[in-house]
């Protein structure tokens, strides 16, 4: 075969595609997003995807990135299935094949942890809206930026809350139990709980990791019941949160309080699925729909109209992360990863659409952690219409006006 005959068209074709992508790069900024779109955390993954799409749609309709000649943001999504290996492969693909300017994701800490490592190696900024494992921003990486609070802040506030409740109601808590999913997220929380319980002088009567893909959690609940703790701390994904809450209610596990860690317990389908079984439960979150923030009602109404459910903490973080990216691109005036990294590091984004968050400004410290991220605790109660409601109770200064906290919860 004549080699020239083959090579020449191939070269023409290659040049054609190269010049085409160079042309495309002027008009479009590609952002890679890694999310669990299937598997046990699919529902939060889809919330993140929908919130991103809504934000980017708004940004693009408002004229895109003005400093880049009105360039449009183009979102690429990859399904991590909640699996670390898939997350790593997809990050590689986004950076080396798709040539994205920035990557965001990946919700599951176990996926974010190795995926951010890939981004760091290539020097491409990785924005983490939600993934709470501390160590994600504690490896001296330059390209990893997290918007959400890290898990040591979550556990710290859970224990502060418990101490405040004991003071407010004059009830003494002596024993605690830990029940958590056995992934990075749950075990990360449990490590911190152990230290905090020791410091506060609580006796740990049960320390139980369980697989969140388990088809039955009755064994865990039986054990919990026998250990008879005053307070249970839990970290669960959606499916297992539903199973545990229902089984605990069915088997009449009596405790003074159940303190959960967002995630599955904050999932919109959770309350609808468990109904009254979740009465009096305390959940820690970054964000709640009853927060009094400017523009929240309108954005929530729009979101609900588009997707049929209220905004969640995950969705708001994802939504805000897109406005953060817009702000960064505007300031960097470039899609070069180095310039973007520098722009991210000097972020001070206040108000506007990011004002939907529970705090005012996004600002990163030298580790890439948003230092303003804050947390609130809500109590689950059944409303007049029988629908379950989440009511902000802590810190006391943001407690919903006129609400009386129920602590300890009545026996079953």
């Amino acid at each position: 075969m004549n080699l020239k005959k083959f090579i020449v068209p191939a070269m023409v074709l290659a040049m054609g595609t190269a010049s085409f992508s160079a042309y495309a790069a002027e008009k479009v900024v590609k952002i890679g997003n890694i999310l669990p779109l299937s598997g046990p955390s699919a529902s939060v993954g889809i919330q993140g995807k929908q919130a991103r799409e809504m934000a980017v749609d708004e940004i693009n309709k408002a004229g895109g990135i003005k400093s880049l000649g009105g360039a449009k943001i183009k979102l690429l999504f990859a399904d991590s299935k909640g699996d670390p290996t898939t997350g790593v492969t997809e990050t590689e693909r986004f950076i080396s094949t798709e040539k994205v300017s920035m990557v965001t994701g990946a919700w599951n800490s176990s996926v974010t942890y190795p995926s951010t490592q890939v981004a760091e190696r290539y020097g491409v900024p990785f924005v983490v809206p939600v993934s709470v494992r501390d160590t994600i921003t504690e490896r001296g990486f330059k390209n990893v930026f997290r918007i959400a609070a890290k898990d040591s802040w979550w556990t710290r506030d859970q224990f502060r809350f418990l101490a405040d409740m004991q003071k407010e109601f004059g009830v003494k808590v002596k024993t605690v139990a830990f029940v958590y999913e056995n992934g990075d997220w749950g075990t990360g929380f449990a490590e911190k709980w152990r230290e905090l319980a020791k410091a506060a002088g609580y006796k740990v009567v049960l320390d139980e990791p369980y697989p969140s893909t388990a088809s039955d959690l009755t064994p865990v609940v039986l054990k919990l019941k026998r250990s008879n703790p005053d307070v249970v701390f839990m970290t669960s994904n959606a499916a297992d949160a539903i199973l545990l809450t229902k089984t605990m209610n069915d088997l009449k596990v009596n405790v003074k309080a159940i303190v959960t860690s967002g995630g599955g317990h904050a999932d919109p389908s959770y309350l609808a699925a468990v109904g009254k079984s979740a009465e009096y439960l305390f959940d820690i979150v970054e964000w709640e729909t009853d927060l009094n923030r400017p523009g929240l009602k309108e954005t929530n109404a729009k979101f609900k109209k588009l997707y049929g459910y209220n905004l969640t903490g995950e969705a708001v973080d994802a939504y805000a992360s897109m406005y953060l990216l817009k702000d960064v691109l505007e300031r960097a005036k470039s899609t070069n990863p180095k310039a973007l990294q520098a722009a991210l590091a000097s972020t001070k984004l206040c108000g506007g659409k990011t004002g939907l968050l529970a705090y005012d400004c996004i600002q990163f410290d030298q580790t890439g952690q948003n230092k303003n991220a804050s947390l609130v605790i809500v109590q689950v109660r059944s409303g007049k219409d029988g629908k379950m409601e989440r009511i902000t109770v802590w810190p006391k200064n943001v407690r919903r006006a006129g609400y009386k906290v129920v602590f300890p919860q009545p026996g079953k």
Partner: protein
Amino acid sequence: MIGYIESVINGILMGSIYGLTAVGLTLIFGVMKVVNFAHGSILMVGMFAAYWFITLTGFNPYLALVVVVPLLYFFGYYMQKIIIKPIFEAEKHVREPITVIIVTTGIWYVLDNLALLVFGAEFRVAQTSVTGKMVEVAEMYFPLAKMIGAGITLLLGIYLYWFLKHSRMGKAVRATSLDREAATLMGIKQSRIYNIVFGMGCACCGVAACVLVPFYYVYPTVGVPFDIKAFVIVVLGGLGSVPGAILGGIIIGIIETVGAQFMAATWTEMLIYAFFLVVLFVKPSGLFGLRQDY
């Protein structure tokens, strides 16, 4: 002590339901020598059908059996007839047709993603008259829905056993499973038997789905955790054996529940697979398996 008795009984109850989810798999494998990877998805289809039936009509949840079981029977019957059969024909001289396994995997993906598209990723729980009802015996609590489930499993097991052993159709099914060619020579229409068996396998999923819905949540990939358990159970009990599947399920249930009382729940999975390996070493065909099946 009473806590351990409670655990064992809870293990048996949940285990028999695991067995129930595995019966359909073992039935299809026993006859067609095909591992049906779409099994969990068919269970999911059944659960959604049962969920909507119960939620929309508000009837007693077990009335869903009347609708869901025939529905899944025809679903399986026509899935085999339209999708699987043509591929099976192409490979009919192979004892274990591999391409069919790949097709069932395809069906699994299509069904799961279709459900995700149609119903969304949220978790749904049916509120029924038995949901959350507990039976109290000497300070031990057992969920009523699981007790009914275990009872239904037992009845289904007895019926299938009788059907395969004594009915004319059952004999034809067993003949096909033993020797396809010989059965065909005796005037048994192989393709029809396959359609019926696939339909029955799916109908068993329908029974399992109706049993699960009153106390379990429904979502598009709900079949996956049951699927993995079902594979272990059918191999443990012996591929193709109905009593083996139910007993295998009960054993897994007991290990899971009792094991968790002595160690963290994370480790019971390891215990299940360790036991599984031991059985494979000692009796490779499983507890009730036939010699020729390994």
